[in-house]
């Protein structure tokens, strides 16, 4: 794939919050590139630094060190120009409670200098959102929908969405996924943070995984689901000898050995051959290999020993 200029690029972007008593490194030397026309998923648990990254990109907060560029422009120096071309949905959306959905949209459209609200109405219709209600009367899901309308109504080149499907029902999540695919088909870019792994798996091209303010990996989603390990389940004609547990455990790449009567289940990292040789004394009736779910991969990145997490060369290679 020919790489064009990145839409989002950060260089050693760092944010440290300082209070009288402590310093919190919310984001640590983030180096990230998001290419035009891709949907980039930004994964991490609460407190990992996802929202901090987004707020830095939008110049709501200022970096302690490093810098961010969007559309090739400095995020701080050219914030107004960047905001013209960006649609943003915050993680915790607050709007003017006394206004109706339509009044909010009109106000924001006026600030953006938009005259034509057809796109906003189409989006609202698609998301089944009643714009005549006051914001205070909306459910959290409907407030989220209104946020999506606001973020998308000017058809921005870049969408920055913080936990976009929070509070949406499954049908609306499907609709949202479809909308994101359409955005990508139009050559526009989406940067979305999420901890809903299914959502990321369904729509994202690449995923960045963040933990404790550090970017641990950036992978293509399909590659992420094919990396490192799989679950191997074998069913034997006879009961599996208990001694195999220790024997298999000694094989490099094999872990989490479980034996249940005639069934053996292991987590395999690396080649199959050593495992197959080790069980060659038994008669295998069935063998199944299951790819790990994104959630399992995700948890692997966050395991206690951090072995998988520490692969900076991969971040460099793919970012």
């Amino acid at each position: 794939m020919v790489q064009s200029d990145p839409i989002i690029q950060t260089e050693n972007l760092t944010k440290v919050y300082t209070s009288r008593r402590s310093q919190t490194r919310a984001l640590d030397r983030l180096n990230l590139s998001v290419q035009p026309g891709e949907i980039f998923g930004y994964l991490g648990p609460n407190g990992a630094g996802k929202t901090t990254t987004i707020r830095l990109l939008l110049d709501l907060i200022r970096p302690t060190a490093g810098r961010a560029r969007i559309f090739g422009l400095d995020a701080q120096a050219h914030a107004v120009e960047i905001h013209r071309r960006v649609g943003f949905l915050p993680g915790e959306l607050s709007l003017w409670r006394s206004l109706t959905g339509l009044q909010v949209i009109r106000h924001i459209a006026n600030v953006r200098g938009m005259r034509d609200l057809r796109c906003a109405h189409q989006l609202a219709e698609r998301l089944q959102l009643d714009l005549s209600k006051r914001v205070r009367d909306y459910s959290s899901g409907n407030r989220r929908k209104l946020g999506l309308v606001i973020a998308m109504m000017h058809e921005p080149e870049l969408l920055i969405l913080d936990e976009p499907t929070n509070g949406l029902d499954p049908l609306m999540q499907q609709e949202f996924n479809q909308m994101m695919r359409e955005v990508r088909a139009e050559g526009r870019t989406v940067f979305l943070s999420s901890h809903v792994l299914g959502e990321v798996q369904a729509i994202c091209d690449r995923v960045g995984i963040l933990r404790e303010g550090e970017l641990r990996a950036v992978e293509r989603v399909e590659r992420l689901t094919h990396v490192d390990f799989r679950w191997v389940e074998m069913r034997f004609r006879e009961d599996v000898p208990a001694a195999w547990r220790e024997r298999l455990g000694d094989i490099s790449g094999v872990s989490e050995v479980s034996i249940d009567g005639t069934t053996l289940r292991v987590r395999l990292q690396g080649d199959f051959d050593p495992l197959l040789r080790a069980v060659s004394g038994g008669y295998i009736r069935d063998l199944r290999v299951k790819e790990p779910t994104l959630e399992e991969i995700f948890l692997t990145f966050y395991d206690g020993d951090g072995k998988r997490a520490a692969q900076p060369e991969r971040v460099k290679e793919l970012a």
């Binding site: 709501l60 907060i61 106000h107 924001i108």
Partner: protein, 268 residues
């Protein structure tokens, strides 16, 4: 689009101007009709003369005999208290420029729009300044209506100038609250800071006026209430120096607000 925050703020808050203005107007009307004629006013002045002079001075009454005039009475009865009422309004509106929306999280949406931060501050300040001015106009209407219902007669021009004299300190108090909101991220801190400065300013002026030669008296220069002086405006017209000083302080506070707000993190 330029002016959108100004228009939206006025559109959303014009009712406040009506409610506050009508309330202030009713106060003005009451003050006008409570003393029906000059004889009653003289009795009232005699009563006031029995009070300690320091206390009278604290309330901005240089001479109890001045209370025997409609101008002196209205200056004390209406304009003295009106500014205190407007102080509450000013803090409420000043908090609405950035502090409330920042605390609620609305500012995240606002500042993700293609608009520089300074414009949000300046346009909303101007909108609340207009609303504040509208309140004084409605209050002036109440005073005029009260004069029609009373035998007290005051030159309309003097009433108008005294009403106009409320606008600069009102703007200053809004600007002061905006400044506190621009400096502090937390709404409660901003609110407390603005309230403390206004209350302290009032008491410095109050105590300084009551105790000539005291420390409070020497500090009166830093109290913006000292430059309001409704009684002398009613007597001899606007003091251009005082007004210029208050407006200059207002402009400095708005500029300081923009400077502070432009530089800091939002809502963390």
């Amino acid at each position: 689009m330029a002016g959108e925050f100004f228009k939206e703020t006025v559109r959303r808050c014009w009712r406040q101007a009506v409610y506050w203005g009508v309330g202030m107007g009713l106060l003005g009307l009451y003050i006008m009709v409570v003393i029906r004629d000059v004889d009653m006013l003289k009795q009232y002045a005699e009563l006031m003369a029995t009070m300690p002079p320091a206390l009278l001075q604290a309330f901005g009454i240089a001479d109890a005999a001045a209370m025997a005039t409609p101008e002196g009475f209205i200056s004390f009865g209406f304009y003295g208290y009106a500014l205190l009422i407007l102080a509450v309004f000013a803090v409420m509106m000043g908090m609405s420029v950035t502090a409330n929306e920042e605390d609620d999280g609305v500012l995240d949406v606002v500042l993700s729009l293609p608009v520089p931060r300074w414009r949000v501050v300046v346009e909303k300040f101007l909108a609340f300044a207009l609303i504040g001015a509208a309140i004084t106009v409605i209050a002036f209407g109440g005073l005029l209506l009260g004069m029609q219902m009373s035998e007290l007669r005051v030159e309309v021009g003097r009433l108008a100038l005294s009403t106009l004299n409320m606008v600069p300190p009102l703007l200053l108090m809004i600007a002061l609250t905006v400044f506190c909101g621009a400096i502090f991220r937390r709404r409660t801190t901003a609110l407390a800071a603005a309230a403390v400065v206004i209350v302290a300013s009032y008491f410095i002026n109050f105590l300084g006026a009551a105790a000539a030669g005291s420390l409070a008296d020497s500090l009166r220069a830093v109290s913006f209430f000292a430059y309001y002086d409704s009684e002398s405006v009613m007597r001899s017209g606007l003091n251009a120096g005082n007004i210029a000083l208050l407006l200059a302080a207002t402009a400095a506070l708005v500029a300081g607000s923009v400077w502070a707000f432009q530089r800091r993190d939002i809502g963390v």
